[in-house]
């Protein structure tokens, strides 16, 4: 009971921290990958405490599969956008924003988000499929 209560209260904070890590990758340590792992861990914690069934209800497998692809698609898509706006692949400074620094910031934020989405989805998939005892 207590564990469930604490987990329920803790998970939002872990997820908030994960978002902070993703967003602050360009200022301090951290970035998409670390943030993604932490976000994935919050869901793993939920699964460990509340069981596989509830975890699956919270985040159906189809959605994790979809998110895994979506993240890489965002990354590759940002690169292609850079080509569309006249730069080379992944040349963020060519994105149409006020100044190159802002463009670089937003471009990097976009790809970090992509990385975070893929990584957290795949981490959840790892746990779902490796820890599962039977077909649930």
């Amino acid at each position: 009971m207590i564990i469930e209560f604490i987990t329920r209260k803790m998970i939002p904070f872990i997820q908030l921290y994960a978002l902070y890590v993703v967003a602050h990758g360009d200022l301090g340590p951290g970035g998409g990958f670390q943030g993604g792992v932490i976000f994935g861990t919050s869901i793993i914690l939920y699964i460990i405490v509340f069981g596989m069934e509830k975890g699956k209800r919270l985040l159906p497998l189809k959605i994790t599969d979809f998110l895994g692809s979506l993240g890489v698609l965002i990354y590759a898509g940002v690169g292609i956008l850079c080509i569309v706006f006249g730069g080379e692949y992944l040349e963020y400074t060519k994105l149409p924003f006020k100044n190159p620094h802002l463009a670089a910031h937003l471009g990097i934020f976009a790809i970090e988000t992509g990385v975070a989405i893929t990584v957290s989805a795949v981490m959840v998939v790892f746990i779902f499929d490796i820890a599962r005892k039977k077909d649930v």
């Binding site: 301090g28 340590p29 990958f33 790892f126 499929d129 490796i130």
Partner: protein, 127 residues
């Protein structure tokens, strides 16, 4: 002499760790143990890379007005990529091991090879 040893100690320690990991990877017969060896092997290679990026008196590679010398950020970047590769390999390897366990009911290489040899004999007799 002690200067010389200290100046290379990080590299030698990582080489020793690599040897331990690699030994676990080839000599052990247990499939999971091999993967544990693989993890040690790869992490020690990462240690080797990180050691080469250290600069005497350097600060962490994050912009800071007071900093004079920074540590080299390139090895850090390369290793971030390599860590991801390492966890991916581990996950795939463990999935294959779970499948192997389901087919053979064991994770010892010797026993699996025995079972496979039996398989082949039987299919040979049937013909």
């Amino acid at each position: 002499m002690s200067d010389f040893i200290l100046s290379k100690f990080n590299y030698w320690a990582s080489i020793l760790l690599m040897m331990i990991g690699m030994y676990g990877m080839i000599a052990k017969k247990n499939l999971i143990k091999k993967i544990i060896g693989m993890n040690i092997f790869q992490v020690s290679v990462f240690l080797f890379y990180i050691s080469m990026g250290k600069v005497k008196g350097g600060t962490a590679p994050i912009f800071w007005e007071k900093a004079v010398i920074y540590d080299n950020p390139i090895p850090h970047v390369l290793i971030l990529t390599a860590i991801v590769v390492s966890i991916s390999t581990t996950a795939v390897a463990l999935s294959i091991i779970i499948r192997i366990y389901n087919c053979f009911r064991t994770v010892e290489e010797n026993k699996i090879l025995e079972t496979l040899a039996n398989d082949e004999n039987q299919s040979g007799n049937n013909q």
